[in-house]
């Protein structure tokens, strides 16, 4: 990727001068820039960190106690100001604790930030809340990491307390031992068969905040080191799957907003904070404050920074993840997820293999194109086979089946049962990606809730042409995109702009070929080259596609069969490593991740709990 290398002092100075005038989420979008000087890079990071903390602290209005919540207290304690006010408010807030693990980690943060600032009465109020309020453990992995990290750190503050003094009736020693065991098990499983809530556009925050707290405050050196290593691990995984800070490709979880407006979520806070290559989301993503107040204790390794910002050219990153725990309807507790992400300077295309890999919020594939300012822009195209079922929910949740679908729609996932949805996986969708071409096939049984394909066509496409050949040619940014529906379709308008390709046919699918504008002399040339690509489509009895991509690869992909490329069968179960690509590499089961950029190499070895940095010879 081409980047601008400039001397950045003027930028930093300008940023500092405007700090109080305008938060970055309403300011101009940053120009993607690589800061080569480590000290300047660090200074820019700390400027951004300070911006978050200062902004949040100023939300607390003098004489208006209601404006001082846990986040404002954390910000003020981080600035080492108004300790008396913080203590007073904390005593009040501890009278009505609520929020389970989302209460636990802010209170843990405040407890540590306030160790030498809070009044004894405030500390007592906090301590008492951990006896009288029972936060739930939760039912997803991000819940558990927050829960056990918080318990681990809180028991450090009160190491000898008896069971009667904690909500769960266990002693500090017991809680600490149990929490440590869970954290170690999570790290082990993540670094052997992959993360469960992988590449989650919001929940990345819950993981990295928890790991930062561990890296900062764990007294045990091993846990501190492991916290830092997991931070590196998750942020490295994030960095390689970004395009100018936007989280790209397949996600275990995203949401109805960010699946269209790709930038608009908590993940972009971390891209802004660490990479400086996109704006932060409004209010710094909400939870961002809890990272910011401790962020100075972590220094992003240069290799990760460069993976995110300083790329030599297009690359494909292969990753293996896992599903979250399956309780029913599966013989596998954690089924493998095979990801492919192809990234260029102008666009990215990423995918998993389809199927029900996560409940409700799975996003299986998309194309994302680069834009100068991503705010308000729907810079993506993809299709889904809309699906919801008690089968899916029973697989991933342990509750009685029938009430779950409607309940989900009341719990922050309003489109779960909608036929027009763009979010979620389907058991009737199978996907294969080769470079920047992708084939998605659907074989939808009769009688399921939605017998259709939904294609998302953004309001921000600059061209959209339905070609007599059957291809739909579109342009987004500098990306030329050829979209081929396998079955007839019609258009449905979308609230907020753009339109939905609605294809009500059970044997169905989508073929995508993406290229950069710069590869062609003209738009017409792109279309001509796509039209002549060899393509065979069969829909009955099961969909099958044979397609020679723009890159000259002959891909044969049939529903319920392994894909073939140039006559060679692709066995993803055997071939996909935990990470494989120019930047991140790890074998399944290895607990050892190698991050490489140019001559920089950083190895995270969880077997020995060591980090090895090296500079490769020229």
């Amino acid at each position: 990727m081409n980047v601008v290398r400039i001397f950045l002092w003027p930028v930093v100075a300008l940023s500092a001068a405007s700090l109080w005038a305008q938060p970055s989420f309403t300011g101009p979008a940053p120009v993607p820039t690589v800061i080569n000087d480590a000290s300047l890079r660090r200074a820019a990071f700390l400027e951004r960190r300070d911006e978050v903390v200062n902004w949040r602290a100023l939300l607390a209005k003098p004489g208006e106690p209601a404006t001082v919540g846990l986040a404002e207290i954390a910000a003020k304690l981080a600035r080492r100001e108004d300790a008396a006010l913080c203590s007073e408010r904390l005593i009040e807030l501890m009278k009505t604790p609520s929020g389970d693990m989302f209460w636990m980690f802010p209170v843990t943060c405040i407890s540590y930030l306030g160790r030498d600032q809070l009044t004894p009465a405030a500390k007592t109020a906090v301590r008492e809340a951990w006896r009288t309020y029972m936060p739930l453990r939760g039912d997803t992995e991000n819940h558990w990491v927050m829960y056990y990290m918080s318990l681990y750190l809180m028991t450090q503050l009160y190491p000898d307390d008896p069971g009667e003094s904690w909500f769960n009736g266990k002693s500090s020693v017991e809680i600490s031992r149990e929490s440590r065991a869970w954290l170690l098990d999570w790290m082990r499983i993540t670094t052997t068969i992959g993360q469960g809530e992988y590449d989650a556009t919001h929940y990345i925050g819950e993981y990295v905040i928890s790991m930062l707290f561990l890296a900062t405050w764990a007294q045990e050196p091993e846990m501190r080191q492991r916290g830092q290593m997991m931070l590196d691990y998750i942020l490295g995984d994030f960095a390689v799957d970004t395009l100018n800070g936007i989280y790209i490709g397949a996600h275990a979880r995203t949401d109805d907003r960010q699946v269209l407006e790709k930038w608009n979520g908590l993940s972009s806070f971390f891209a802004w904070l660490f990479f400086g290559n996109c704006p932060p989301p409004a209010a710094y993503g909400g939870w961002g404050i809890y990272f910011a107040v401790v962020a100075q204790n972590y220094e992003l390794p240069e290799v990760i920074y460069r993976i995110a910002t300083d790329r030599d050219g297009p690359y494909t990153q292969f990753e293996r993840k896992r599903t979250r725990h399956r309780w029913r309807n599966s013989d596998l507790r954690n089924a493998p997820v095979f990801k492919t992400t192809h990234v260029t300077a102008d666009y990215a295309i990423g995918s998993d293999q389809g199927g029900l890999l996560q409940p409700i919020q799975q996003h299986s594939w998309d194309v994302t194109w680069a834009v100068p300012d991503p705010r308000g822009v729907h810079n993506t195209i993809f299709s889904v086979q809309p699906h919801y079922s008690t089968f899916e929910l029973m697989m991933y949740f342990t509750e009685m089946p029938d009430y779950m679908p409607s309940s989900v729609t009341f719990q922050g996932k309003p489109t779960y049962t909608s036929d027009a949805k763009f979010l979620g996986g389907s058991p009737y969708e199978q996907i294969f990606q080769q470079d920047d071409a992708l084939i998605s096939l659907s074989d939808i049984p009769a009688g399921v809730n939605f017998e259709q394909i939904n294609g998302f066509f953004s309001k921000d496409l600059t061209r959209l042409e339905e070609d007599d050949s059957g291809w739909i040619f579109v342009q987004g940014g500098r990306a030329y995109i050829a979209y081929r529906p396998l079955a007839p379709y019609e258009w449905r308008p979308l609230e907020g702009g753009g339109k939905r390709l609605y294809s009500p046919h059970r044997q169905n699918g989508t073929i995508i070929q993406v290229a950069s504008e710069s590869e062609f002399g003209s738009w017409d040339e792109f279309k001509t080259k796509i039209r002549v690509l060899p393509l065979q489509i069969t829909r009955e009895p099961k969909p099958r596609v044979a397609f020679t991509t723009l890159r000259g690869k002959r891909v044969e992909f049939a529903y319920d069969a392994e894909p073939r490329v140039d006559g060679r069968t692709i066995d993803r179960a055997k071939q996909w490593k935990l990470f494989e690509g120019p930047y991140l590499n790890a074998d399944v089961g290895s607990q050892r991740l190698t991050m490489t950029h140019g001559r920089l190499r950083r190895i995270l070895d969880f077997n020995t709990v060591t980090i090895t940095n090296s500079v490769l010879p020229k």
Binding site: G99, D100, L136, H143, K170, W327, D331, T398, G412
Partner: protein
């Protein structure tokens, strides 16, 4: 059966005075109040307390939500008032009590197995991070140190009254376990209702054998209080099954629908011919001939989505039904007529009678 039989019955202890937490009372029609007035005169005759495992936070409640009304464990000692006990908890699924001490309850919760001493007030999570989201729990009355818990990934067993736990599920495939029933006639004989059917152990969970496969998850397993050879089970969309030989052989129960999820079954402890079943879309079904025929007794309830149903062991013809997101209703004529009794917008996961000391 949802009556918990005490191991050492017959000891009467004074009733502790009130709880420190919420007391709720529903607004009742005049006729119901009059009925309750009669009932209250009989309160002293009640030999059991009625416990509820209830979520009162409504459909929007997820992890991290603000608590508006305490959920979790409620007790009614007079069938008129309910008292909240212990912590608020939106995922308390079922409960039992220590067979040697009815004042010590064991709760199957999202967080694992919770022991609630002092008649539900003092909680301790007894299991660790690797045994969570418990669905069911049962003591072995013939081996009262032994406790069994059904987990979404297997079965946990304690041999020291819940103090320590280990997994014991050898032989079980697809280990999701919603229901546990201990055969009261033989120590160490336990039935487990799983995703793929009913398993039995004869040796305290060392080994398990599939005795009845099912197409869908077994949701409840109950042993008849009248004939210990009789067991009844419900499933999600595979109907109900009856066993007359201690759970070794099962027959599908005609007249109970297979197109809906059945949530639970209960025997009438006073009448061996009467059973009641409920479920999602099923409403309340009653049999008065030992399960041969079934009558729909949903009329009078606000909806057909019924989460749980239970027969009162102390009051003749009294049954309770818990419609989804609604009040717990009571009937004094075995389901012919119903009236609101407790709560308003409740999901009542379980209703359990515990004998007084």
């Amino acid at each position: 059966m949802r009556i918990q039989t005490p191991f050492h019955p017959g000891v009467v202890v004074p009733w502790p005075i009130g709880g420190r937490l919420a007391r709720l009372r529903t607004s009742l029609p005049v006729w119901a109040v009059l009925g309750l007035a009669v009932l209250s005169g009989r309160a002293a005759e009640l030999k059991h307390d009625l416990y509820f495992c209830a979520n009162l936070s409504g459909q929007k409640q997820v992890m991290g939500s603000r608590v508006t009304v305490p959920s979790g464990l409620y007790r009614s000692s007079d069938r008129q008032n309910v008292e909240h006990l212990g912590f608020s908890h939106i995922r308390l699924f079922s409960m039992t009590h220590d067979v040697r001490d009815p004042d010590t309850l064991f709760l199957a919760t999202l967080d694992g197995v919770v022991r609630a001493k002092d008649r539900g007030r003092t909680w301790r999570i007894m299991t660790s991070w690797d045994m969570t989201e418990a669905k069911s729990i049962a003591f072995d009355p013939s081996a009262p140190e032994h406790v069994y818990a059904g987990l979404p990934d297997g079965i946990a067993v304690s041999h020291d009254r819940g103090q320590t736990w280990r997994r014991m599920q050898e032989g079980i495939r697809r280990a999701y376990t919603q229901a546990i029933a201990v055969d009261r006639t033989k120590a160490g004989r336990v039935l487990a209702g799983t995703e793929k059917g009913v398993y039995v152990t004869e040796n305290g969970a060392r080994t398990w054998t599939l005795v009845q496969p099912t197409a869908e998850t077994v949701t409840d397993l109950q042993q008849s209080p009248h004939d210990p050879r009789v067991f009844f089970m419900t499933t999600t969309k595979d109907g109900a099954f009856l066993s007359k030989n201690g759970g070794s052989k099962w027959e599908r129960v005609a007249g109970v629908p297979t197109e809906h999820t059945l949530h639970n079954v209960d025997f009438d402890p006073k009448n061996p011919n009467r059973l009641v079943v409920c479920g999602w879309g099923t409403g309340v079904l009653v049999s008065e001939d030992g399960g041969k025929t079934w009558i729909d007794r949903t009329a009078g309830l606000p909806k057909r989505e019924i989460w749980s149903v239970v027969v009162d062991p102390d009051l003749p013809d009294r049954i309770y039904a818990a419609p989804y997101l609604d009040a717990v209703h009571a009937s004094d004529d075995f389901g012919r007529t119903w009236r609101k009794l407790f709560f308003e917008q409740a999901i009542v996961f379980d209703m359990v009678f515990v004998p007084r000391k």
